[in-house]
């Protein structure tokens, strides 16, 4: 069974890979993922704030303290000191040396700035491709949707300007006109989109009256959102598509591929079950395709997208209407 797929211009043995997460921080874990069959390794994101914050924080706290007669500084000043992103670049090199599959580095930011220059350093460090995560939480009422998109496109253009690498953009589902934005990305020279990033969710501590940041790992319930937008984008875009979020087992992956994904990223399931789970899903995928007599993976990809599925209305408003009417109140309402 030929499971190969083309993603971001990379020819991969199959579509399954670990998504951006701290898994790739550990070389041993990376090797185990490769052993489990991962077709590529996606590294965790290096954040705009991390790049700038690390530098500014170090400048402020390690090198910026009061000058006094007895001391101009409070820390040793050595040439071998490397700020955070440099260790990220070293990790790219280390992973490249450790595995044979492509290594996809990841940047995360939403405002144009010097941090986009790190794309070039990632390329120089040996990244096979770059995933740019546009993780944007708009809070400014004076900035309209067009301005948000324009800002994000400026970021994309800056990153694109720094590298010749294949470039994927990881998006959130919160766009007024996602297909239009994806087309703008395509025009900006992007090679693919990853659907979707997941927001860290705030929570409120009732006793201390403080807001805490929480992160819940994804569950399969998050898959349908991805399926819908993969299916909508798949017919018209020439970009590579990747599903990220909600894929826990082979059936999830198969659905994502059917909706149009060229690659399928997994994080939560691998964090919970270990790297070998990727091999299990891969085996199940192969078995399913064989049992269902597909000639190759390519036959499957996009087969259930908006243009090719039997009932497109279910990806559109019709689905919404039908669902609402299918809800029934719980027994609690009837007591």
């Amino acid at each position: 069974m030929d499971l190969s797929t083309d993603y971001l211009g990379l020819h991969l043995a199959h579509p399954l890979m670990p998504g951006a997460s701290p898994m790739a921080d550990d070389l041993d874990a990376v090797r185990r993922l490769e052993d489990a069959g991962a077709s590529a390794i996606v590294m965790r994101s290096l954040f705009e704030e991390q790049i700038e914050g690390e530098q500014l924080g170090a400048a402020r706290h390690l090198f910026g303290h009061c000058e006094s007669a007895e001391a101009a500084t409070w820390f040793p000043d050595t040439d071998v000191f490397a700020l955070g992103p440099d260790t990220y670049l070293e990790q790219i090199r280390a992973i490249r040396a450790a595995v044979h599959v492509p290594v996809i580095a990841s940047l995360n930011g939403t405002t144009p700035g010097g941090w986009t220059g790190y794309a070039q350093l990632m390329e120089e460090a040996g990244a096979s491709a770059l995933e740019l995560n546009l993780y944007d939480v708009p809070t400014n009422p004076d900035e309209n949707a067009a301005a948000v998109e324009s800002r994000l496109l400026e970021v994309v253009a800056q990153v694109r300007g720094h590298v010749a690498l294949p470039l994927a953009v990881k998006l959130s589902p919160s766009f007024t006109a996602l297909p239009h934005f994806v087309r703008a990305l395509e025009l900006a020279g992007v090679d693919g989109v990853v659907l979707f990033n997941r927001w860290y969710q705030p929570d409120i501590e009732l006793e201390s009256l403080e807001v805490r940041r929480t992160l819940h790992l994804s569950g399969p319930s998050e898959l349908p959102l991805r399926l819908r937008w993969l299916a909508i984008l798949s017919p018209f875009t020439g970009l590579s598509l990747a599903a990220s979020g909600g894929v826990h087992a082979a059936p999830d992956a198969i659905k994502a591929l059917m909706a149009g994904a060229h690659a399928v990223q997994m994080v939560a399931a691998l964090l919970q079950r270990g790297p070998q789970h990727l091999g299990v899903v891969l085996g199940d995928l192969r078995t399913w395709l064989e049992e269902h007599e597909y000639a190759s993976l390519q036959q499957l990809v996009g087969s259930m997208n908006l243009a090719r599925c039997p009932d497109a209305a279910h990806y559109e408003r019709g689905n919404y209407m039908a669902l609402l009417q299918s809800w029934h109140t719980s027994p609690a309402w009837r007591t």
């Binding site: 790049i51 700038e52 690390e54 530098q55 500014l56 924080g57 170090a58 400048a59 706290h61 390690l62 090198f63 910026g64 303290h65 009061c66 000058e67 006094s68 007669a69 007895e70 001391a71 101009a72 500084t73 409070w74 820390f75 040793p76 000043d77 050595t78 040439d79 071998v80 000191f81 490397a82 700020l83 955070g84 992103p85 440099d86 260790t87 070293e90 700035g113 010097g114 941090w115 220059g117 009256l209 403080e210």
Partner: protein, 1232 residues
Amino acid sequence: MAHTLDGSEAVASVAHRLSEVIAIYPITPASTMAELCDEWSSAGRANVWGQVPSVMEMQSEAGAAGTLHGALQAGSLATTFTASQGLLLMIPNLYKIAGELSACTIHVAARTLATHALSIFGDHSDVMACRQTGFAMLCSGSVQEAHDLAAIAHAASLEARLPFLHFFDGFRTSHEVHDVELLTDAQLLALVSADAIAAHRARALSSDRPVIRGTAQNPDTFFQAREAANAWYERCPGVVRDVMDRYAALTGRRYGLFDYTGHAQAERVIVLMGSGAGAASEMVDWLVERGEKVGLLQVRLYRPFDGAAFVAALPASTTSIAVLDRTKEPGAPADPLHLDVLMALHEALASRGAGGVRDDALAAGSGPRAMPRVVGGRYGLSSKEFTPAMVKAVFDELRESAPRNHFTLGIVDDVTHRSLPWDGELDIEAPDVTRAVFYGLGSDGTVGANKNTIKIVGDETALHAQGYFVYDSKKSGSTTVSHLRFSPRPIRSTYLVQRAGFIAVSQPQLVERLDVLQLAAPGAVFLLNTPHPADEVWATLPAEVAETIAERGLRFVVIDAHGVSVEVGLPGRVSTVMQGCFFALSGVLPRDQALAAARRAIEKTFRKRGEEVIRRNIAALELAEERMHEVAVPRPGAALHRRAPPVPVEAPEFVQRVTAQMIAGRGDLLPVSAFPVDGTWPSGTSRWEQRAIAREIPQWDSSICIQCNKCALVCPHAVIRPKVVAAADLAGAPEGFVTAPWKNAAHPDLLYTLQVAPDDCTGCGLCVAVCPAKDKSAPKHKAIDMAPVGPLRERQRAAWDFFRDHLPEGDRALARLDNKGSQLLQPLFEFSGACAGCGETPYLKLLSQLFGDRLMIANATGCSSIYGGNLPTTPWSTDRHGRGPAWANSLFEDNAEFGLGMRLALDANAARARTLLHRLAPRLPGVLVDGLLGADQAADAGIDEQRRRVVALRAQLQGLLPAGAPGAAHGSGAADTLDAAAARELLAAADHLVRHTVWIVGGDGWAYDIGFGGLDHLFSTTADVNVLVLDTEVYSNTGGQQSKATPIGAAAKFASAGRAVGKKDLGLLAMGYGHVYVASVALLARDAQTVQALLEAESHAGPSLVIAHSPCIAHGYDLSQSPVQQKLAVESGVWPVYRFDPRRLAAGEAPLKLESGPIRARVADYMKGEGRFRAVELRDKERYATLVAQAERHVLERRAFHEQLAGLRLSIAATAPGTPLRPDVPSPAAGS
């Protein structure tokens, strides 16, 4: 090619490249040399032989000297760096090293020795205390010379087979930034004799060819053996001269044992050594140009003093000599160099023609034929300015028929009238020397930016560049003054700029406090950072500034540098903006060239800081020119305000007369008569210095406040205080003075108020961080929030004055002494100059609240002695009775012993008073005597009662005095006379019947390292003393060098790669004695426990130790977050919290109570919040991971050990008297 660096780096560059073993210990101003060597070795930089020198920090300078001695015995090329008292600690080993003729070089940034006061600044009193040790002594007078003579010292030492002490003036040379020619490795290799090194190694101790050294000798032999080394001393000057000649051939830079400059037929000659030669040579040239026959003889090889060579170096025409010493030897016939010169002249001239002088040294025609008149003078103690005008005063004096001898220079001595007057207006600098003065704050980077500017000009142009930096004594909001010179000729001006063509002020409030235009030359540029635009700024200026601008025709330029710094995302870092303006305005370089060079310098300087930092600094530089505006100068208007006086008019006379001048930066002008003769100063002067450095201060919302007093408890500067008052107390309160009903059911009628001292707050925000009271409808708003000070200042000033002066302080005899109640007591430690957010000072403030009225403090040198005792103003204050902490600092290393001495004296005093009382008992009421002798003074109430008894006793004693004394009764007979004498004595000693408490305070550098021996000894006694260790886990005061309290995984100076060994468990060592009370506390995490520990320690009738964990800026994070970090430190087990009270044994309890609570946080999470750990991770991730794992294990192991100790019981009941106590360890199942 020129390199621009400071004297410390110039010396370290040689020392590191010519050494194999470097033993170090921090002490200002020598620390930088040690830090550089440590950093270089840590980064793998090799010496000229390709080997990375081994750098070892020791526990003291005595330890460093011992290590040096050992390394030399084993054949290494070894060095060390030190100054001041540190050098004195080395003296015993200096004798040994010299006595054994071991070759080595010690580099000393010469610093004042502590006498009536400590001073970190420069003079020769330390090195002069070593001239008897047998070390050769070589003195440098400039940054270039320090580099050159460092190399000459290393080379000459090996060839002469004598140890060398190479010294140069602390700060003036060690910290001056200057362009210098650096030696290449090849030049160093060519200079140092390989044969001499081989011989040095061949003399090493070796078990392959064993010898014995360090024998004990007896009257029969010691003397002769001591004389046996004479030949080496006689040979040494010649060796040095040879090396100097070789050096000249290698580098073109020529030095002599004594270097003369001036008129070839000079009649009047000044002799001195060190940096003063720069200023002196300038004046000599100036006078010679004007036809005067004057000269300067600079001493370089001071020991062995080659008298013949000295005399030969003088012009034959010399008729009078002034010898200038930079040290003071009270009681000596003259200061040391003066004596040496007299002796040299006497020997040379008295024996001339009698064969007493070596022919080779006295070439025909050189040196005076007849004994010149020789006078001596003293100058420059503690880096006192030494200017060409003062040199001229000396030459003028020498012209007198009877010039004054033993004079002083640079001060006004109106007591013993020894000082020479000088012309303060005389300025001989050439007009083509660009001179600029920058006023800034320690926190705004002004010094750093100016060092950069000097490097840019020094490294990239043909101009010579010099920078020197003056700091005030505060750590928070400290003022810096940068003095910059750029000249087409080499710069010899070893004194501050006296007339500047460019004055920059980086903080607008400085114009209100300092005469910033004092040094402005006519027509100079005055650049001011101010938020006010050019057309409005004039009205905001003090009239004094406006008048000077107009009178001197200054070009006045303003820029909102703070606004630019915010705009580019580097808020507060205004220095780069000011630097951009300097390049645009000063003309020292063509503008485009200057900016391009500045951009390159930023890229180079901030390369290690990352792209974003570079980008933002360049943006600041570029915006500077765009945003600065020239101000059209109108005639000064009458409406302008005058500067406020340095202290309020109600301040005491001494503060008005002396302290105020120092605050205003005019301390140099104070005459000798202004000063206490013995170093005794009044307490509590910090309240008179209103620095107004905070941009934001806390604002109280009484409607939300729960009156927990945590804000007051944590405030490092005692600027936020609560009081509980009656409504009647509020009569006369200023408008808007806020109170709230006191939340205390027992006193429904009392009111609570919380007040901020707006001019003393540093704006650290700790009070807001700990405030637990949040507004229910908007929890962002707390009972205290930080708010811009501008609109609040006037109202809060009035409120603070009323609060401080009119509302009664809490009554300590009635107060509940817990974390909350203690804060209603008056702090007797206030407004120190400690860093904003300091973690140490809240402990001291608490100590002063709990025991301040009976507190004696022995304070080790360190941060706490600097913010505790650095003039002009000091924070230890007094209560309304005039009682308060009595504070003294002896040294760094001896503090435990110092405090023990205090205790012994107090006990002796008390015993004497009690003896007198016993003796007079028949004449006194029995109840009173019994009460006085049997008083329970464990707590405040008992002490209060005893004080009342003492008052009653005094009244009774008056009655025992002979007739004539006020209120005295008549008496007769010998017994009466004796009783009267006893009564008189007891009157003076009666206060000793009241219990006084001794606290020995110091940092971890003292307690864990240099003072540990004394501390350990203290624990072995039964003396009732208390030790408070303010444990910041580094040597904070000297800039963050590691101590044995530094935890695993933390980067510190001398531990660049992160400390690999666990923190010493000082508490455990003290517990080992069994009778010592020991507590480990963390105020911001366990405040109630901290208060309890201090109370228990004080009440324990033996030695007590409280280890107070203290956040510090050397931990590398925003200290307003220190409550969070302390909590993590405690919850992760990194900072153990416990109390070990030997008294619990008697109750059958385990003496140790662990109070950290269960481990609820990860060590790694604690570590990731602080820059000191993060720095290690950034440097080496894998090593960091290993260190984190080790730290976690260390915490668990220590915790397990403490838990086992906490389970220990002693089976007292089963023990008969005299039977040794046996530990009884219950089984774990017993659940102890």
